[in-house]
């Protein structure tokens, strides 16, 4: 469990990045922070692993104030995934993944064995183990980043726009993989993004932020779509533009779901056709959506 209690962050120089932020994140929950650039998402996330210390207020993990914890030890116990640019360019894929376990004193051999398993879990070809990050595609680099974040088997995983630098098809694939991993691993995830669709897909709950880290709305994707708290949220999720409004048209004897632009989004069926709750949660409808899975 992660707690933010009346957290405020003023940077030297006077930028008020976070005014007064309070939120509780349950264990095993994935929370997505969304907001425009500069709304304080990274600042909030970095207060959890003490990369940033709050000016006032407290951040707690399982009730204990992180301010009293050794920052280096704390960081080694929390997975951190950021854009691909965060990999160590002078270390091979395998050495990048073993970084944290080795810092924590795991033997190199054991760490490497585990790293090979992780490469398999995140869908990386074992042949890439000895490559350097610059020799990988963006999507592969991102998978290495996720594997590295998971390497020390942390309870908490912080992800700062991890899929921001890859093309939409790869992003979609990576989001799918993360959902699958999360179903198995059930980490406590804090996921920062400025893509509302990504937030709805990854987050059990979504926090929509205004500048200054002010919360515009917190809730499940369904709650936010069903009842946007105000015009800011409505425009953020695209509800105001009708972008999220779907309607049913009867075509050739089947109920086809059509979006605001008149494009077919899927076919209505009585029960979810596959994949379970995660895939259609965001729309709140039971639709088997065409084109959601990219071609492999």
């Amino acid at each position: 469990m992660i707690g933010f209690e009346n957290v405020r962050k003023e940077y030297p120089g006077g930028t008020l990045a976070v005014e007064d932020f309070t939120l509780e994140i349950a264990s095993h929950e994935a929370v997505a922070l969304v907001g425009t650039s500069g709304s304080g998402k990274t600042t909030l996330m970095r207060m959890i692993n003490r990369m940033v210390d709050p000016t006032s207020g407290r951040v707690t993990i399982d009730g204990e104030d992180v301010a009293g914890m050794n920052p280096v030890a704390l960081r080694r116990s929390i997975g951190y995934v950021m854009q691909a640019s965060g990999l160590l360019p002078h270390r091979t894929v395998l050495d990048n993944i073993t970084t944290v376990p080795v810092l924590r004193g795991t033997s190199k051999t054991a760490a490497r064995e585990r790293a090979r398993e992780l490469m398999h879990i995140v869908g990386l070809d074992p042949a890439l183990a000895t490559r350097y990050p610059a020799q990988l595609s963006g999507g592969q680099q991102q998978r290495v980043g996720v594997a590295r974040g998971l390497a020390a088997d942390p309870n908490i995983l912080l992800m700062d726009e991890p899929f921001g630098a890859v093309d939409p098809i790869v992003r979609d694939e990576l989001q799918g993989e993360l959902q699958r991993l999360q179903r198995e691993l059930r980490k406590t995830i804090v996921f920062v993004t400025h893509d509302i669709d990504e937030a709805f897909r990854i987050g059990d709950r979504v926090v929509i932020l205004r500048p200054g880290g002010r919360i515009a709305q917190v809730g499940t994707p369904q709650e936010i779509l069903a009842a946007p708290a105000d015009d800011f949220v409505a425009s953020f999720v695209g509800a105001d533009r009708g972008a999220r409004t779907l309607h049913i048209e009867r075509i050739e004897g089947r109920d086809v779901i059509v979006d605001a632009d008149g494009r077919a989004a899927g076919v209505l069926s009585a029960a979810p056709a596959r994949g379970g709750a995660d895939e259609d949660r965001a729309d709140g409808t039971s639709a088997s959506t065409a084109g959601q899975e990219p071609p492999r």
């Binding site: 990369m51 960081r75 950021m82 944290v100 595609s137």
Partner: protein, 216 residues
């Protein structure tokens, strides 16, 4: 040519003396430039100061400095120590700004992510920041090495033994082969040192060379 063959032992002796004066400044400047560059990068005004001082330092002609230094620090006029100290100052003037650029070339994202992984500050410096500044540092050391090896010859004018003595002596005695030997030996020493540095860089920084090869 016969002069060269008859005097191989002299040339070898001067080459040894030359290296003994060139290598310490190169090594010292490299080691000292690291903390100085880190310090300079920590404050904007310090960095400007360091860059300006380095430029001015380089503008001081080497011969007068070699002549004046013994008076300032109390060494003998012909002591190689003068040469070593003066050349270390020149090498620093080249190396500190380069090292400062080198550290600034390291991606802040990578450093931030290293901190987030749990590198303690010292480990982050030695294991991440220093190696990643490596390519720029190596470029600096190569320039410093070649320029230092060539500057050592100036000491020959003052009678400090080095390959420079070959030109001085060759000119005085009118032996063209001796002058040629001095030039060729100095250039060869510089090129050889440079080649060794390049090989060392490849061995220490394989990631830098493999970067552009075989991408999927």
């Amino acid at each position: 040519m016969s002069w060269v063959l008859d005097n191989l032992d002299v040339i070898a002796g001067y080459t040894g003396a030359h290296l003994l004066q060139a290598l310490p400044p190169i090594a010292l400047a490299f080691v000292l430039s690291l903390p100085l560059a880190k310090l300079a990068n920590s404050r904007g005004w310090l960095r400007t100061g360091v860059t300006t001082t380095s430029g001015l330092m380089y503008a001081i002609p080497s011969l007068p400095l070699f002549v004046l230094l013994p008076g300032l620090i109390g060494t003998g006029v012909r002591s190689p120590l003068n040469i070593i100290i003066a050349l270390t100052l020149y090498a620093l003037a080249l190396m500190v700004p380069t090292a400062s650029d080198g550290f600034r070339s390291v991606s802040r994202d990578v450093l931030g992510s290293a901190t987030a992984q749990g590198f303690a500050p010292a480990a982050r410096f030695w294991e991440v920041e220093l190696p990643l500044a490596g390519p720029v540092l190596l470029g600096g050391v190569r320039v410093v090495a070649v320029s230092t090896i060539s500057l050592v010859t100036v000491g020959g004018v003052l009678g400090v033994p080095s390959l420079g003595m070959l030109f001085v002596d060759g000119v005085r005695r009118g032996i063209v082969a001796e002058i040629g030997a001095g030039i060729v030996a100095t250039a060869a020493l510089a090129l050889l040192t440079d080649a060794l540095l390049v090989l060392l860089g490849r061995a220490l920084m394989p990631w830098h060379h493999r970067r552009r090869e075989e991408r999927p």
